[in-house]
Each structure stands twice: as C-alpha cells, then as structure tokens.
Subunit: 321 residues, 2 copies
C-alpha cells in the first residue's frame, strides 16, 4: 500500500508549453521537465498519457517507488481546450479561493504511479464597462510570488509579460483586478504578417546599442499621448522611418516592440493609482523581464524581477489545503 506522499508534481501547462516540477512537500524543486507539449500540441484526449510519459522517470525513482505522487496543474490545461474545463474564480480572490475551486481528476491508467490530479481554476474579472477579462496560470504564479516575497502581499502591482501580457493588482493577499494586453501576439502578427516586418527579413543585424535606441524611441512613441486609435497611426511610423532612412531594417523589430510595450505600460500605469511608489513586480524569464524593466525605467517606473519558478510554492500550498 502506498504511504503518505512526501513529494508531489507541480505543472504549469500552457497553450504552447509544458513545465513540470518534481517537488518536496515544502515546495523545494528537485527536478524539472520543460517541453513544447502545450495543450494545442497534445492530440485529443492524450493529456493523461502525456503527463505519465513526462513524469515516468520521477515515478520510477527508488526513493519514490512506494508513493503515488499527487499532481497540481495550473494554466490553460483548465480551459475548454484543455484536460478539464474548470470554472473561473472571481476577483477579488486569494489562494484559498483558488484552492477551494480546484477540479479533482482521477488517473484512469491503473498502472500509473500518479495520485489524484488537481487542476487550478483561472480567474475572471469585469472591467468598469462590464467587459470580462480572464487569466489561467498567472494567478497561481502571483500567489506563488506572494509566498516567496511576503512584502508584496499588502499592496502590489504584478506584470506578467508575454503573448497575452497581464497586469494584476494585489491588495491584502488577494488579486483585486487585472487587465490583459495582447502585446506579444500583436507583435508577432504585425512583424510576421504585415508590410512592417518585411524589410527586417534578411536584414543586417544592428548593434545592441542601436537595437536599444530603436526600442526606446518606440517606447516614447507608444507612450505618447493619444487615443486608442493613435496606435494604428503610430505603427505606420515603423514603415515611414524605414523609408526615410531613420530606422535600419534590422532595428524595425525593436522599434515595433518598443511602440507596443510603451503603449501597454502607459495605459496600464496611467489608469492605476496602484503603481504608486512601489516597484512593479515582473514575473518573467530574464530576457523578457530585462526588456520590460528597461522600458519601465525609461518611463519612470521601478521594477523588480521574480523568477517564474515561484509558481511551485503556490502549488505546494494548494495541495496542503
């Protein structure tokens, strides 16, 4: 008979990637697997088989052979396209609210050495005009960050940049509201599928300094005053500045990235008092975090980076509750 588990498996299972961690009950990370098996790459229904395959080496460890390792998964795995659709929790929400709404999914393969699967719900909020917003996975990262950096609990602003960047506002340990900006996905669509990106194909690479200057010029352009339609006009500047020799083809991507990031930051910080004097907490890998930190500093905002591995601390707590 299996003994009480001393370890568990934590997972951040998103649209395009899967990150799995072997952890001790206290959240210490003993091993990790990162793959491109995002939920859109997993053939229909094969989530269980994928999970068993990716964790087989851990289940087979001598010191864990007598345990059925419980699993906690967060991210798009809880969406309609994922393993099991888990109803969103509603803002304001704390870690307890999230833990209480987890879906429990049994493992059907009797030969697997895995315990019960918990899938974390996402979060939803309504904007002032009633427009819904959603996140799946970022809420767990934020709660993990609060556990590893308790000074952020009382009042803080989180930024999770990426395909769909999230700005989230925390008060007394609960996420009170958040906003999504499609910055990363819009950047990819514009550079890959409009006239703007064309000169950058096969362009001579520019120096780091030139890339940085183009990025910050873009940040200034994006953050300048103007209505929401101004962006549709400003994007065209990436074309005309190139036509007039103001922008090297190899720096167009940096300029465009700056335009979008600057616009995002100006909107997210302008509308909120919550950014007050405290540094904005960026949960991201080092490269993306540096890019945003540069733009934030340029616009007068302090920031600090938190490693995305913080998510595991929240998974450990969810399992304990």
């Amino acid at each position: 008979m299996a003994s009480q588990p001393t370890h568990f498996i934590a997972g951040d299972w998103g649209t395009s990637s899967l990150r799995l961690f072997l952890c001790q009950s206290d959240g210490a990370i003993l091993g990790r697997v990162e793959t491109g098996d995002g939920i859109l790459s997993v053939a229909e229904g094969a989530f269980e088989a994928t999970l068993i395959e990716k964790t087989a080496a851990w289940s087979a460890r001598d010191d864990l052979a007598d345990q059925q390792l419980p699993v906690v998964l967060s991210g798009m795995i809880g969406s309609r396209q994922g393993w099991r659709e888990v109803a969103y929790a509603t803002c304001p929400a704390g870690l307890d609210d999230i833990a209480a709404k987890c879906a429990k999914v049994p493992i059907e393969d009797a030969s697997a050495d895995l315990g019960e699967i918990r899938i974390v719900p996402g979060l939803t909020v309504r904007g002032p005009d009633g427009t819904p917003d959603v996140m799946r996975g970022e809420e767990t990262q934020i709660f993990g960050a609060l556990l590893s950096s308790p000074d952020l609990t009382e009042q803080s602003t989180f930024l999770l940049p990426g395909t769909h960047a999230k700005w989230a506002y925390v008060s007394d340990g609960r996420i009170t509201s958040f906003k999504t900006y499609m910055t990363g996905e819009v950047f990819a669509a514009l550079t890959g599928h409009t006239i703007l990106g064309r000169p950058a194909v096969d362009a001579e690479p520019v120096s780091d300094d030139e890339a940085k200057a183009a990025f910050l010029k873009g940040v200034d352009g994006g953050a300048a005053e103007g209505g929401s339609g101004a962006l549709l006009n400003r994007l065209f500047a990436a074309r005309t500045r190139f036509l007039f020799g103001d922008l090297a083809p190899g720096a167009i991507g940096d300029y465009l990235s700056g335009l979008l990031v600057g616009a995002e930051i100006a909107d997210a910080t302008g509308a909120r008092q919550a950014t007050n004097a405290r540094p904005i907490a960026i949960i991201a890998n080092a490269t993306l975090s540096q890019r945003y930190a540069l733009a934030l500093a340029h616009l007068g905002h302090e920031s600090r980076r938190i490693d995305p591995d913080c998510v595991v601390a929240a998974h450990a707590q969810i399992l304990r509750r």
Copy 2:
C-alpha cells in the same frame, strides 16, 4: 505621323491592383480594365510590357489607330518597388505641385502605340513630433474629387479607407496634412494570424442585424476614452466576449472591425478641428464606404461618398498642365 491625341490612358497602379481607364481629353471615361496586377505581382521590370498588354485593345481601336495615347499613372507605381521612384511632393500641395513633379518615362518598345508615360509623385508630411507620413495615389484621388465636387475645395476632410486608411485635410484646394491608419492591414493580421480570428473559422454566419450590432458594439469600444495602449487591451475583449457567450463566433470579425474603425475615427476626428460641421468625404467603393458611414454616423459625424473613378479628372488635368 501621329496626330495630336484626343484621348489618353489614366491608371491607378497600386500594391495589389491595377485600374486602367481609356479617357477622352476632358476626362470622360470610355473604357476600363481592372486586374490584380499590382506592382508586387508584376515580375521585375515588366511594367511596360504589362501596360502595353492591358491597353492593347484600346491602341488597336480604329478611331485611335493614328494616335500614340499618352498615359498618366498614379499610385505605388511611383514607389521604390514600382516602375520609377518619383520623389514625394511635400504638404501643403495642390494639383499644380503634383503635376510639376511628375516623372516622364519614355516607352522603350518602339512597336507600342503609347505616348510618353507620366508617373505622379506621392505626398509626404511631417507630424508634430517630426514623424514622416506618406501617400501614393490617394493625393490624385483627392484632387480628382475636388474637380468633380468643387464645394469641397475651400475646406474639407477626406477619408480613404482600406489597407492603410488615409485621413487628409484640404484647405483652399491644397492638401495641408494627412495621417495614415493601418486599420485594414492590422484587421487582416489579427483575424488571420491571432487567436482572435480562430473561432470565426467555419463559424455559422450571423444575420445582417447581428453583424451590424456587433460592429457598432465594437465601434463604441474602440472609440471609448483611453490611451494608445488601450487598444491592446480592448482587442482581447473579442476573445472574452466570445468565451462568455456575448459574441457569436460568426460576429467576431464584425466586432473586431468595429473596434479598429471606431478607434481610427475617434483619433482622426478628435485631433482635428477640420471636421467641423462639414460632412467627411469618403472616397471608397460602396461596401467599404457604407461601413465607415455607419460608424461615422454612430459617432455623430456626417459623411458623403465620392466614387473612386473621380481620380481620372485629376489625371486629365495633369496631362493638360
């Protein structure tokens, strides 16, 4: 020996299409050819051959057999990727300025029954922050519209919607400034290459009323107050409204179109006093014009449509000067 031409050929040669007209000297249109031979589809250097081929039937007409028909071309044909790069004229500019800066290109094929080719320059202007903007072809359409609708000469606002929508401001017959909005191209990139368009693929079509309601809901969202980064956030509403059942998959495209068009109109009209009480003159085909007229009316602006064939009146004048 060829007699003095009584007819000429006018052409609007853009990035993705070619429109040619056989005209009398006074601008009356006798024939037209519209094809997909935009400058990007014409194999390198074959502009002359394409022109000769598409106009061969006119050159061969019995009543025109003794003439070498002169040709006036406007549009992207005068760009770096076109037949001959023609330096931009600078705002403010009237039809005389454009006519004076036309490039004259001889026909090299001696067997062709075409006279000299005039290629119209585009226009450039600098925004308040020094950012350049450019147009090629739209300036000729606007001058043509002024010839056919002289009441617009003193003071008017023109809108030429499309891939790169142009808003141009006319005072005393001259284009004083203009702004480009990448509305059409951004719409295509977002619907074709982001998560937003995915649910619309194979979606049940919606009724005209439902499409119109979704479009106008989008217009309201796009025109709402907010900085340029607000658009990156509002786009995501096309996703969440769908997820929450507020938006039928078949109406997502209309909603997105409304968001972008509303944002464009709010920015273009908000920044200008020139829209004053006069209707905005839309130069576009009937379908696109109706779409914009609907959005403009919804936001409290009158508009009137001008047929793009008006361009030929400007070509006739350029030839005469």
